[in-house]
Symmetry: C2
Subunit: 149 residues, 2 copies
């Protein structure tokens, strides 16, 4: 039997979060954290609303998941995020010892791969899941923003 | 006339924060953020108490300073922190565009210099201010912790 809870399923949930960010005028990035096919954190970028550069979707997801679990290590968790994490978020994921990171579209300018940020040696990384959808949402955001200014 | 508000003065305030962390059983790292010789944020590591790997002193200081200023960029601010920032904190400081980072003791294992994390090109960095004091506090913490376990 096919498991319906595959990486695409959870990335779609992260994309819904990115759309929620879009609606608030935030750069549309969304994330979910999953344990045993169960979503324990759903977050989206809130840097503008909170006036806080640390309020990336991933950072909030890490805090939220740790609260849910009652422990700070996420070594049984998977993160789904629509955009490749930045240095800050990858650095936080390093400390969290997260088991798996799945991201949508790449960030060739400020993503952790370009920046050379180190993840925990036990963290598996998969990129490119629903990348087209995540990228299209980002592009639409920046086009609309440009037209409004 | 000598300005009493030099880097050592503010690092002493950061060290007081590190001591407050120590008293709570947290790895003793403290930080303050300063604008025009005025402290606008005082924080210390709370990762154990909050069960949250993102609760480093610097992360809280960035959030706190941005709240105080009502804006997310800290390009007129200086951060004083007793330990060299890690990847996550350096990544957050990159986004904040902070003007100056002054740290105490180096972290040759997980500090941003070893890890190769990029700061904002306009950020000035000074290391080694009250390094001996910050390092002694860290060593005392880990010796006491070892003896208790």
């Amino acid at each position: 039997m096919i498991n319906p809870f595959d990486d695409t399923y959870f990335m779609r949930k992260a994309l819904q979060e990115a759309e929620a960010a879009f609606e608030k005028g935030e750069i549309p990035v969304g994330a979910v954290i999953v344990v045993e096919d169960r979503i324990i954190a759903r977050t989206h970028n809130l840097t503008e609303l909170l006036n806080d550069v640390t309020a990336h979707a991933e950072m909030q997801a890490i805090t939220s998941a740790a609260n849910f679990l009652g422990g700070k290590y996420l070594n049984k968790c998977s993160l789904y995020v629509t955009l490749e994490p930045c240095q800050m978020c990858a650095g936080a994921l390093y400390w969290s010892q997260i088991s798996k990171i799945v991201y949508g579209t790449s960030d060739d300018q400020r993503g952790f791969k370009t920046m050379g940020t180190q993840l925990h040696p036990k963290t598996e990384v998969i990129g490119g899941i629903l990348a087209k959808e995540a990228s299209a949402l980002m592009k639409r955001f920046f086009i609309e923003k440009r037209n409004l200014n």
